[in-house]
Symmetry: C2
Subunit: 218 residues, 2 copies
DNA sequence: TTATTAATTTTGGTATACCTAAAAGTTAAT
DNA sequence: ATTAACTTTTAGGTATACCAAAATTAATAA
């Protein structure tokens, strides 16, 4: 199997399994990777043979220790590059995902560690995602989704789940950037949209968007 | 055809044709790319269909205008990355080639132009090779090979042809770095090896190495 | 010029990573 | 418990990018 293919599967499995606590379905993988489910079945069988995943037919897949290790390496490379692009090269947080998607496959630990060092070994990337260290250790947060918050509560925006340019530009427009403090005003009965206060302005967030914003209770 | 495959062929044709003045043979390509000549024939036929090269059966190949443009883009990316790795990230000139070989395939003009800007839009990379500008314009030098020099002459080291770590470390050892001033002492009758003076020390250079060192007469 | 050597192309074949369509299996709803 | 809906797998197929071996073509030397 080509390295890049392996890396894309393992990274996606990692991202979908929330730190390996969940089993990932073929459908989820097919959707995320934009490929046919039949191709996923095939690939998972090979990854199982390579001992990167435990794939149980018609049930689901999770990473082995070896697979996790590899996945964390790729996640590290991706997040370090995103941070470097934003902090050192002046890119916007809404444009770095696609570039990092390519840069993450460049195989050179010395390079990544050098970038990390220049950045002061950051622990979070520009989207609020934790960056694994060189040994693969990663912080796990007890943050919640905006969709799980309660009215009257005060929260701090800690990260996002969707990394698309469109979504990030939408957040920028409402000042909903990492670190912003918000207060939940009400949750609409009929469509579950959330009305919150951010920078003293009312902002209306759709349930779909609320699923993609990560916050911490204050 | 995969982008990376196209890019590797075009780049190699460019490098072998010395600025498109020479026709490139299949053998040369097979050697440089470490693949079977039969595969080269196949690939060239496709590149011809794609209008990137003019491939004349059993004769040779050269780049079209479109092919040249693409090739220069890849060469630019490669050389900008090499320079960035050396100048900004502290890598040695002997270790950047392999890394740039991967980085050159990352498709993002804004990124390359940003790196170039940080570097002050350099015109030469760490190996003395000229870097095409964003429009594809490239300096052409009238430098000569060390193997073409004459005894008693004074020269300045301007670049290298071989980018392997082994060769570059060998040069480092003898202080034969870019910019170094040398004087040709003699050329051995029986094996054509060159004895030159560099940093006041005598250095003996094999004919093979002399083919890979580019100098300018002073 | 012919023979020899070398380069190139043809032919037939492999592995990878996808695909579609159909079959089998699983889950949920009545 | 049976049907309906969805998911997963199987089976058969494609394009890419390579290969080895044989056939052809070109270049070189006798």
């Amino acid at each position: 199997m080509r390295t890049e293919t392996v890396e894309n599967y393992l990274k996606t499995i990692y991202n979908l399994s929330s730190d390996n606590t969940l089993v990932v379905t073929n459908q989820q993988l097919a959707d995320k990777l934009s490929i046919n489910p039949a191709s996923v079945t095939e690939a998972l069988r090979k990854l199982h043979e390579l001992k990167y995943v435990i794939y149980e037919k018609s049930y689901g897949t999770r990473l082995t220790t070896a697979g996790s290790k590899l996945a964390l390496g790729i996640v590290r490379r991706h997040r370090i590059w995103e941070t470097y692009l934003v902090k050192e090269l002046g890119f916007g947080w809404d444009e770095v995902h696609v570039i990092a998607e390519e840069l993450e496959h460049v195989q050179n630990d010395k390079l990544i560690n050098k970038l990390a060092e220049i950045l002061g070994n950051p622990v979070y990337d520009p989207h609020g995602d934790p960056i694994p260290d060189a040994k693969g250790k990663i912080l796990k947060s007890n943050f919640i989704k905006l969709s799980e918050t309660k009215p009257k509560g005060n929260y701090k925006v800690m990260g996002v789940i969707d990394h698309s340019t469109a979504f990030l530009k939408y957040l920028d427009k409402h000042q909903l950037i990492i670190g912003a403090t918000i207060t939940i005003k009400t949750i609409e009965e009929f469509d579950n949209s959330i009305i919150l206060i951010c920078q003293k302005k009312d902002v209306n967030i759709s349930p779909k968007a609320a699923e993609c914003i990560i916050v911490q209770a204050l």
